[in-house]
Every structure is written in structure tokens, then in C-alpha cells.
């Protein structure tokens, strides 16, 4: 497996030039070194790190994941080591493997957190950041920043001022006016939008015990093939109002899914939950995409849509 000769899959996202549009989604690919045993990570377009906060976070208690029909609910709660240990311990590992484009996903519990994280990324010459404004699993903020138009605009503008690299804003589908929010993100100076984050969801398990039902609830973010139609619709809606690149995601598992996202206006895609099902899937999709182009007598992705 590898990059096929003479097939141009490259895409530009902000200042980033990606060799192909296949990116691994935040929280599903660790800090990339975990996948060295499965694929050649540098064959991918880019990777997005697990969401990183200013201070380390312990995340939520167990249970944290529950699979449902064609999907997965998670309530990890942004467990991560914090930005400074990341820069010290993990970044050198990512940088060691040359030729990997990586995007740091940052999450904050205040507007100041985001700006500070962006400054730190700026000071450390980080090529691209993705603002997580849509994690449904932390009580203090995150999703809320992506829901209120004024807050969203102010936050993205302030981050833009602090950070010169490629700025991607990750949106949730749990909002009423996607088009309006996307326009604000563009107006505030973001280079790209990634969407969709997980969808708020609940799983119930009932056990009949001692003449009554005992209920176990898991509430979190739903991902996987089951949310693909929601994601396609969301991207289609925002594509009609913004010009900046869109990185589409939501249940992508097969190359047909990649094509569907590109067909509604996504410029690149992120692979999330499918990394759990098939740890080699992201690299496979790069290969499959090239094969589809060859099969249809195309030499470049740009000719397709």
C-alpha cells in the first residue's frame, strides 16, 4: 500500500498542503504513534491529535463508551495530558516521523483558555489547530462556545489574532442555525470548518430486578455510520454559505462515504470511529480513493467534483 504514482489527491486547507484529503479525527487516533504498528502514518493527509487542554484532565468515570446500532456513544470527557506535557513528550515523536501533517485539537473551559492555547501553539510553530467548540462531554464550556453566535464569533476572532497558522473550527450539529454559525466562523477569520462533532445521544439499559426496572444511562456523543446522513446534510447546508474549505466527517468507513462527503462540498474528510473498527482503514482509504480515480480515468481529485 502506498501513494499511487501520477494520481494527484492533494488538497489545500488554509496554509496546509495535504498530500491527500484523508485525515484522522481527534480522539480516535491518539497522538499517532499508537498506529505505527498498523499503518504508515505519513501516507495520510494529516492527523488530528486527541483534544488537548491547558491543564491535564482526568476525564469522566467509567463507563465511558457504549456501542449502539451502527454507532458508538462516548463520554470520555477529554482525558488528556495537557498542552505542556504534550509539547514535551508527544510532539517530538510526531515530528520524528517526517512528512506528517498534524493538527492539534484544542479545547478550553473559557475563552481565555482557547486564546492561551492558540498562543502556545503559535510560539511552538504548530502548523495547524482545530478548535473543539463542540465536545458534548464536558460540563464547563466547549459545546456552549459553539452554540452562541456572539461567543463563537468573539472566540474565533480572538484566536485568529493570536495564531497565524491554519485555523480550523470544529462545529457540532447540535445547533439550530448551522449556516449562520458557519458564516460567522468564516467572518472571524477561520481558514476552515470541520464538521460534524459527535451528536448528543443517550443509551438506556434496563434490567428487570425485584419487580422493577433498574435503569442504567449513558449520555454522550454519538459517532459512527449512524450519523453520516446528519453530517452530509449539515455540510451541504454550510457549503452553500461559506467559501472556506470544509473538512467533513461523520461515520466515514468506505471510500464511497469519502466520495459522498466530497460531493456535498467537503474538501477533505476525517476518519473517526472507523479507526476503532479497522485500525488500518485510514491508509486503506487513501489507496482506495486513488484506485477510484484510476478506474474513472481521472488523474486529480480536483477533476472529480
Amino acid at each position: 500500500m502506498g501513494v499511487k504514482q501520477n494520481i494527484d489527491l492533494s488538497v489545500n486547507i488554509g496554509k496546509m498542503k495535504l498530500k491527500n484529503p484523508i485525515i484522522t479525527a481527534s480522539g480516535t487516533f491518539g497522538y499517532a504513534d499508537e498506529f505505527d504498528e498498523y499503518i504508515k502514518v505519513s501516507n495520510l493527509g494529516a492527523i488530528v491529535t486527541k483534544g488537548i487542554t491547558l491543564e491535564p484532565r482526568k476525564g469522566n468515570p467509567q463507563p465511558r463508551v457504549q456501542d449502539v446500532t451502527n454507532g458508538l456513544i462516548n463520554r470520555i470527557g477529554l482525558e488528556n495530558m495537557g498542552i505542556y506535557p504534550f509539547l514535551e513528550k508527544k510532539l517530538p515523536i510526531i515530528l520524528k516521523e517526517k512528512n506528517i501533517s498534524f493538527i492539534i485539537n484544542i479545547a478550553g473551559s473559557s475563552e481565555e483558555d482557547y486564546v492561551q492555547l492558540a498562543k502556545i501553539c503559535q510560539d511552538n510553530s504548530i502548523e495547524a489547530i482545530e478548535l473543539n467548540l463542540s465536545c458534548p462531554n464536558v460540563k464547563d464550556g466547549c459545546l456552549e462556545f459553539g452554540k452562541d453566535p456572539d461567543t463563537l464569533y468573539r472566540l474565533v476572532s480572538n484566536v485568529r489574532e493570536a495564531y497565524e497558522g491554519t485555523l480550523i473550527v470544529k462545529l457540532t450539529s447540535n445547533i439550530s442555525y448551522p449556516a449562520q454559525m458557519a458564516q460567522l466562523v468564516q467572518k472571524a477569520g477561520a481558514d476552515a470548518i470541520s464538521a460534524i462533532n459527535t451528536v448528543k445521544a443517550m443509551h438506556i439499559r434496563l434490567n428487570y430486578n425485584n419487580n422493577k426496572f433498574e435503569k442504567t444511562t449513558i449520555q454522550g456523543g454519538l459517532s459512527g455510520p449512524t450519523i453520516k446522513p446528519i453530517a452530509l446534510n449539515f455540510i451541504s447546508e454550510i457549503r452553500s454559505v461559506v467559501d472556506i474549505p470544509i473538512i467533513g466527517m461523520g461515520g466515514i468507513t468506505y471510500v464511497q462515504d469519502v466520495l459522498e462527503f466530497l460531493s456535498v462540498g467537503a474538501n477533505a474528510v476525517q476518519i473517526g470511529t472507523a479507526n476503532f473498527t479497522h485500525p488500518t482503514i485510514s491508509e486503506q482509504l487513501v489507496d482506495d480513493l486513488a484506485d477510484i480515480l484510476i478506474k474513472n480515468n481521472k488523474t486529480s481529485l480536483k477533476e472529480c467534483f
Binding site: Y38, Q62, P63, L72, F276
Partner: protein
């Protein structure tokens, strides 16, 4: 990809079902042969099986392995294990592994405490101990005699909660007795949390080493989803809690480091 990476065969790999049969009323044994060269799994390690179109693979401790052949012992609990139950001889299984940490085998007289399907990895460990002629005592605990079946182990001390087979009571009631009687120097356990927790407590009281194999639900099997993250203690500095992932740092842990929920 560098030279050492190409040697690894942890990629999703196919295996062919050699046998899949009931060993008790709700417990089964799946025997498969890997198509690619298998890195030989060690006792305590697990493999993750793709179950039809389920998004999340199902992890299983390896109960026996030799060359490219291995076995798992499983209970039918939900959709995933229902799929595995229906696999027929000759069908293919998509798996990744071996994954996770293995038991550390030392030349010490050891006690194995296996509860329910936790007996599987203990059987595998016993095989390795036999090969190295290290003495051990094997306690195998079940709810009732109908749950046994796994006990192709004449040397295992059978204990059932209801006394329908072997000794009656909870397996934890027999731990101290066998530690004293057989002059045990180290404990290995795999089973329900309360059994392992009690074993860990006894080990601590008696200042014995203990290794526990822990099970939690996770999504990825490869250390990235954080679904199986648990709190652990630093043995020398128990106030400091450190997050560890069952699938990556475990499933085998030093029993003294676990913060039991």
C-alpha cells in the same frame, strides 16, 4: 516503515475457525488458526475480534496458543458474542492482536485464582508454568457445576458458590488457606472485580506479589479511545493517581496499583 515495524503482524488479520464448541451451558471455546504468522500471544494478552458489522470489536483473553493456532473462552453475553457463537468451522474471523500486557512469569511458587471465564487465561498461564516446571496451585471458581466444563484441569481445585461441585463457597474464602498450605510466593488472578479486589487485599496483607488481569469495555483495543482508562496508584507513592488504559498498559497490572471502584 522501518525494519522492525514490518516484522510486526498486528494488522487486522484473518484466522480460520478450526472448532467452536460449547464447554458449559453458556460458555464456549473458539479455536482458530491465523493466516499470517502470529506473534505468539502470551498469557494475559488478548485479541480483538471484528463481529459482523458491529462498530466496536470484542476483546478476548487468549486461553491457549501454539504457533499460529490459538483459543479463546467466551460467554455469550450480547450481539458480539452471539455472532462468534454462530461461527462455523472453516469460516474466517477478522482479529487484531496479540494486544496488551502479559503476566510476568517468575520462578516462584504461585497461586492462580480464576473466576468464571477468567479461568481461560489462567489455564494458559498454567500451561507455561508446566513447560517451565514452576510449581503452582490453581483455584477455579464458578457459580455452579453447570458453569464448569472448562475444567479439563484435573489439578485445579474446583470451588462452586452453591457447592454443586468441588468445594462450596466463594473462591475468595479459600485464598488464604492455599497460600499457607502451599507456601505461595506470588498470586495471579483473572475474574470478576470483587474476587480480584479481595485477592489483592490479601496479597497486600501478606506482602505477596499479585498480578491481576482486568476487563473493561473499550472501543479501540489499541490505546487511543480512552474508553478503558482507570485510576492506578504508584506503589511507592500511593497518594499519586495515574491514569492507565486497560488495553494498552494492561490488561495485566500489578494488583497493588489498582484503585478498585
Amino acid at each position: 516503515m522501518n525494519a522492525t515495524m514490518t516484522k510486526l503482524v498486528k494488522k487486522a488479520t484473518l484466522a480460520t475457525v478450526k472448532a467452536n464448541h460449547k464447554v458449559s451451558h453458556n460458555t464456549y471455546r473458539l479455536c482458530v488458526e491465523s493466516e499470517k504468522d502470529l506473534i505468539e500471544p502470551q498469557p494475559g494478552q488478548f485479541i480483538s475480534i471484528l463481529c459482523s458489522n458491529l462498530v466496536v470489536r470484542r476483546p478476548f483473553s487468549v486461553a491457549f496458543a501454539q504457533d499460529n493456532y490459538f483459543e479463546i473462552i467466551y460467554k455469550v453475553r450480547g450481539e458480539g458474542t452471539k455472532y462468534i457463537e454462530n461461527l462455523k468451522e472453516g469460516q474466517q474471523v477478522n482479529y487484531i492482536g496479540p494486544l496488551g500486557s502479559a503476566f510476568c512469569i517468575e520462578n516462584k511458587k504461585s497461586l492462580f485464582i480464576g473466576g468464571g471465564v477468567g479461568v481461560g487465561p489462567m489455564m494458559f498461564l498454567a500451561q507455561r508454568f508446566k513447560e517451565q516446571s514452576i510449581p503452582y496451585t490453581f483455584l477455579a471458581g464458578f457459580h455452579s457445576n453447570i458453569d464448569i466444563g472448562l475444567a479439563g484441569f484435573p489439578e485445579a481445585v474446583l470451588i462452586t458458590d452453591d457447592g454443586t461441585s468441588g468445594k462450596q463457597g466463594s473462591i475468595v474464602d479459600y485464598i488464604k488457606e492455599y497460600i499457607e498450605k502451599d507456601k505461595i510466593e506470588k498470586i495471579y488472578t483473572c475474574g470478576p472485580d470483587p474476587v480480584m479486589q479481595k485477592a489483592a487485599k490479601i496479597a497486600e496483607e501478606l506482602d505477596l506479589c499479585i498480578e491481576v488481569a482486568i476487563e473493561r469495555f473499550f472501543a479501540c483495543s489499541v490505546g487511543v479511545c480512552m474508553g478503558c482508562s482507570i485510576d492506578t496508584k504508584d506503589v511507592d507513592n500511593p497518594e499519586t493517581l495515574v491514569k492507565k488504559r486497560i488495553c494498552k498498559h494492561g490488561p495485566v497490572f500489578d494488583g497493588r496499583t489498582i484503585v478498585w471502584e
